[in-house]
Symmetry: C2
Subunit: 325 residues, 2 copies
């Protein structure tokens, strides 16, 4: 298995586990990396840089394979101590960072000087080109299908990936909506050099989240996600529940006058309650449309080996029969 992404990151399979708040702990990152993919610790889930340093050390105890750290630059009330987190990453010997949200340019020099490869998550071609221009090593191209923040353009991966392929020189992975072998093959065909999976990795044995979260993903269909916070231009795709429907009602009622305070209690700070305590009604939590395609909770090893095997069968079987002579 060889793509520009496996070469860039020194991994066996072109499969990355994207950063996820209160999911991307050392246990999951190590499991994904041990299975041949690239595991990612979610930096800001760790309350302080010292906590992140500890989480990195825990991950190194569990795997000798490459893993990365996600750093998300999203609008928050209080700016996290990014410099401190980056120090922890570099001191911990982590050589791969996934950035997301705002432009990571201010932090690139220190990362690059330390030999860290940076993959930036983008929801548009123009942001992907900007990431390439400022020196990112790769981009994670995130379609409308994705859980979490799909941006405001609503371009699905069937369009976004081949558009990225037309424009980008650096390697990119398909992110958003991906969870099985069919989609892995499709993503590579569309021009990507690999895939990023989020929601699919929550529904694995090793994901250190409450069983209720995994059960909710298994129960969901592709029709069960909702977009919230669009009026705030901070759109997020979440699994629907009564709290989410309440957010939608408030958004409808307030219209363009809405403020974050109107929905704050239903969207902010609820991740530990949902992910760790299994309080599924606590608020709105990120979940991709791919939930509708997920019907099992395998180990990361079984998931990745199974996907790669099935991908090979699709290429040698159906694709060859349909499109080769």
């Amino acid at each position: 298995m060889q793509t520009r992404i496996t070469e860039l990151f020194g991994i066996k399979y072109p499969i990355i586990q994207g950063g996820m708040h209160y999911v991307g702990f050392a246990e999951l990152a190590a499991a994904v990396s041990n299975a041949g993919g690239l595991g990612i610790i979610t930096g800001l889930t760790q309350k302080t840089p010292a906590d992140l340093a500890n989480e990195i050390a825990r991950c190194k105890d569990m795997t000798d394979k490459p893993f990365g750290v996600n750093l998300t630059f999203l609008p928050t009330f209080e700016e996290p101590p990014y410099d401190g987190y980056i120090e922890a990453i570099i001191a911990g010997g982590v050589k791969i960072v996934e950035t997301a949200g705002r432009n990571p340019e201010p932090y690139l020099p220190v990362l690059k000087d330390a030999g860290v490869k940076v993959i930036h998550k983008c929801t548009s071609v123009r942001h992907s080109l900007k990431a390439e221009k400022i020196g990112c090593d790769a981009v994670s191209v995130d379609g409308f299908e994705c859980g979490g923040h799909p941006g405001e353009d609503d371009i699905p991966n069937m369009i976004l990936l081949p558009r990225a392929a037309q424009e980008l020189s650096i390697p990119f992975v398909a992110s958003g909506g991906i969870g099985n072998a069919k989609q892995l093959v499709a993503a590579i065909a569309l021009g990507a050099d690999g895939i990023n999976m989020g929601t699919r990795f929550i529904a694995t044995q090793e994901a250190p989240v409450h069983q209720n979260v995994k059960d909710a993903i298994l129960a969901a269909t592709e029709l069960d996600t909702r977009l919230i916070m669009r009026p705030l231009r901070n759109t997020e795709r979440v699994l629907t529940n009564p709290a989410v429907e309440k957010v939608i009602d408030i958004e409808r009622e307030k219209g363009s006058d809405i403020k974050i305070d109107d929905i704050y209690d239903l969207v902010a700070g609820i991740f530990p309650k949902v992910m760790l305590d299994g309080d599924m009604a606590a608020g709105a939590w990120s979940c991709g449309m791919v939930a509708g395609l997920i019907n099992d909770v395998p180990t990361c090893q079984d998931l990745l080996d199974g996907m790669m095997g099935e991908a090979q069968d699709i290429i040698r079987g159906k694709l060859s029969a349909a499109l080769l002579d």
Copy 2:
């Protein structure tokens, strides 16, 4: 090249030209069929059943390959004489009908009795299963990306196609957002047995539409389509222009009180003005996101041969390198 769709319809390539109002004339249908795909005459673009009979005869003069007729059952003020159109189809010896819109069940017995194969266009898994249950031979699974009517679920093809593959027994083609070889390979990998293209076929030499329409598609990016008529639950994806922006303003202003009369002059009856006269400001006309991927106006033969050749290169090249040993 062999899939369940090429076998069902007796065609060389698993590529269908979907019904398009004031585009699907005999010239285009014949060109697509002669190129190895399945051309489709748009039934309701012909004002009367006699006109459709004439258009079918014209098409038969231009090709000896199989072609089909599209019959769309959409909300209209006056019910078209569907029985008459179906008589023209059967009397004309057409053996393939693409249905769209409402449930085609009332018309299936007469079509099936005449040996006509029916492919129904659906925007959801549940409608696809219904089409299978009532006896349709195939379905055209239409994702959120599509021009025209994507339904109200907003599920893109990267999710919708593998979901359809999980559920359907009859063959299906991927429709919506498809315009190049990368996407053809992706669609087959995702479980489809072929593809349906609309917007891509407008930008061909043989499409009998005004050059302004082709130029507008060439100029468009993937960000240039808009969804209108959502408040009427008759959502349509169109290329943006001042008339479309006016529709959107009216929809925003009227909210849930909107009536079709409020926007009628900007959306109804404008297709001949746009497609034939090239009056691009006349109103809102259907166009898929794939416009952002279209940069040339080839003949149908060059388009299809080129796509099939490139699809083979993708399988033998990039996919094999990335996912086979």
